[in-house]
Symmetry: C2
Subunit: 141 residues, 2 copies
């Protein structure tokens, strides 16, 4: 928890109870949670926590590059404690979002493509995860 606090203060941000808890939640849940999942995970121990605080805080964290954001599942934003570039896999059966072994794309080393400045690279793989493939063996195709 001290480390979390340091991380916040190293960016010049005040380490409020809410900010620390939200950042800690992301650190301890590397599942790329949504706002709703973070809310449900924290509201038990912080009954007055507001979803708006979570939105604001995540936005702030993104601006300070404390976390990273994903839009792999389409309808909702997901968040990641990890900020170093890596790739993601989304299972269309069970909805899990997981990190995959770094696929190194030539573009990541290139700052510009056709004159456009690249700030972020997102590689999203979608399909059916190992787990769901196993379960559906013999079941429905």
């Amino acid at each position: 928890m001290k480390l979390i606090q340091d991380k916040l203060e190293s960016k010049g941000l005040r380490s409020s109870q809410q900010r620390m808890k939200i950042l800690q939640y992301l650190d301890q849940h590397r599942t790329h949670p949504t706002v709703e999942e973070i809310y449900n995970g924290l509201v038990k121990e912080m009954p007055t926590l507001s979803r708006t605080t979570i939105y604001n805080t995540l936005q702030l964290f993104l601006e300070h590059a404390l976390i990273s954001g994903l839009t792999i599942s389409g309808s909702e934003s997901r968040f990641d404690f990890e900020t170093t570039p890596h790739s993601h896999f989304f299972c269309k059966e069970c909805g899990v979002v997981m990190d995959v072994e770094k696929v190194d794309c030539p573009c990541e080393n290139r700052g510009v493509i056709s004159g456009n400045r690249i700030d972020e690279v997102h590689l999203y793989l979608k399909g059916v995860c190992k787990n769901c493939l196993t379960k559906s063996k013999g079941g429905k195709k």
Copy 2:
């Protein structure tokens, strides 16, 4: 228009007026339009067109792999007449979504990663486009 009709019928789909217009719109607007953009583009000549029809139709097209879908801009889905694998760039200044020269990632040739079956590969690059970079020369960084 005949080609559009053939394309629909080749997938065993009925070629209704709405379906043809929607598919034609995507063919003629390679800007990765949103549902709203498609609606605004077509409602003039089809005043009774419903957004629901657009949602349903795009869903159907996706299921039959007539088109492809993107979630690069976060809040809304975008659609692409092009179905062969290619990469996209999103400008955080002006919101344009454009195709970029094919970046060939090793994963595209691989059907499985860590036991997960890959059906789709999306490479999204985000940053500031050539145009916006030019405009802001001398202006704000």
